[in-house]
Symmetry: D3
Subunit: 63 residues, 6 copies
């Protein structure tokens, strides 16, 4: 621990790499956590598998 | 919030669209939630990644 | 399956009972699921354990 | 219930089948659970979607 | 990884200790995993926060 | 989206507030996300509900 799970639309590896680096850094600086104890999981969700306000992401413009 | 996560076998978009619409409606009518506050995530699971009674879905008939 | 997990602020039992009933009914009517196959989990989150826009729920008015 | 979710790197079906069998057996023997009440979900994570110590799995050797 | 999350009714520590031991052992023997890489989380669910067949656990006899 | 779920040992509100602020900032700066689209959930886990290497957190020194 800590285990961080991020549900998001698909992103390229470059962005995930930078985000994971910064999230881990936050745990180290704010909690004093050991870097190796921090695991980050990206769970990428397609617009056909997500709805907001009862409308599928794939049906809405400007989600 | 609320955030609704649904673990299920794969379904076509038409069924997910209708389900998300009805689930969101339930939150609006029962809780008085704002429709835009309700997010629904579908997490589709293949039969090779699920077991019941210790038997993989892909090994059982009539799961 | 299906397994439904709902992350929400705490609600009284009466509201959760009605919501679970309606969500289950949606799976039965839209997917043709067996009622007994549908499980609903409520994961209640206190305002001290949730943030939106970087602000904890317990620090914001009118969340 | 119980519902068991396993986040792991991809494994072949043979290993998942054996693992699910043994995990289910543990619930039956330790808790006295009904085998049919135990569901196991495998959530397979690619190395591009996981980081440890702020480094993506796909960037590290010997993860 | 692997990360194992178990949703269950509350159990005493003795049972959770034995279950975690056996689940971890299964990963070591079936996958060849390092014991220290296996983390098990118990997420205990009260009967007021779970429904099956549209009926809350706290409303049903013999769940 | 994005939805961030953090499994951790209990922390005081001050630390969670600062962590949520920094995690949200990372999404804004790295992904260009709208701050209001970022939700962070803290799921606090007691040492009686977590095991590493098959040993419960409550049984191990220096976890």
């Amino acid at each position: 621990m800590p285990i961080v799970t991020i549900q998001q639309f698909p992103r390229d590896l470059e962005q995930k790499r930078e985000l994971a680096r910064r999230v881990t850094e936050a745990f180290v600086e704010v909690y004093g956590a050991e870097p190796q104890s921090v695991q980050v999981f990206f769970s990428e969700v397609e617009a056909e598998n997500w709805a907001k306000g009862g409308v599928m992401g794939s049906d809405s413009a400007g989600r």
